[in-house]
Symmetry: D2
Subunit: 104 residues, 4 copies
């Protein structure tokens, strides 16, 4: 797994508008808000299936209708292409559901 | 649990257009088709949460992107209000996702 | 995907004692019974993750604490090694949970 | 929802050996470690079903095989009987699976 260069990272973030880069954690972050717990956990189940398929897993937390996701490649010590691919898959899963994105 | 009268059942079916009544099984049936397995199983997870909340569970099957659901109240030997309530909840969960409904 | 020869299939079934071969469906079948719906659906979620990882999915049904699974490779028209691998993974997931196996 | 008295809380913690009380968050906390992501997420699905049934939801996070759970009753500003009941349900679900408990 090759770490992204700074300019690759900047360019990738332009195609992932809901995500921001956390410099300290060297991770992509995004927050999602859903209508209720059921919708949030249904989303999490779909992300879990994508993660298992890609063998690349998020660090994430949930509180009722909120899901906070951080993506990084622990073995590489920062962002790799696997994080960008998973971020794009997560956005596709969330698109018909999420009330709002953004790092709120 | 009180069985629905025939006219209650007919009236209910008018408000649940995707569902049909299976006379032999005394059950409401609906088929759902999704984009892929992940979307189908995410839907099933949300239905599972609704079912557990209502303490009323579907008889259902899945094959890749297809989910077939039958609702009946086994303890009552046919349809009750619990089946109508769960059918409406399932429709609400499926609405933003399902490619097609109908008893196809 | 190569279909299993009859003797490969017979030998495989000896290592998968809970499963039986359904000649007509050309599928491996096993029934599982759990303590309640929650345990059954937790099991299904784990099988869903294994299936997505392997890109090979079961035909299955659930009714409260019961899960019936059929494994076949539709594209090959019968059993392949993918079915044996998934059957063994399903057994590993069920082992600490299932009350009984067998094609009951 | 009535807040637990301090002595009720102390007594409850004696029956929930894996859990500790976080004074600042006014929450019960427990960490779980599983064999892999699949086992961790299967556990989370079962907890989600319990939470939805009880209409009382955890604050929790996951990183591959780790699940960290905090239980508190936000509307009451601290621990109530709902937290104790959910903690006991979570322990029952984890018992056949978790490699270790404790606030590690």
């Amino acid at each position: 797994m090759v770490l992204l260069e700074e300019d690759e990272r900047s360019e990738a973030l332009r195609t992932l508008p809901g995500w921001s880069y956390d410099d300290e954690a060297r991770a992509l972050r995004r927050s999602f808000r859903f209508r209720d717990f059921g919708e949030a956990f249904g989303f999490m189940t779909r992300v879990a299936l994508e993660a298992e398929k890609a063998d690349h897993h998020p660090d994430w937390s949930n509180s009722w209708n909120r899901v906070e996701i951080a993506l990084t490649t622990h073995s590489a010590g920062g962002l790799t292409r696997s994080d960008l691919v998973l971020a794009a898959r997560i956005d596709a899963v969330a698109a018909p559901l999420a009330l709002e994105g953004g790092a709120d």
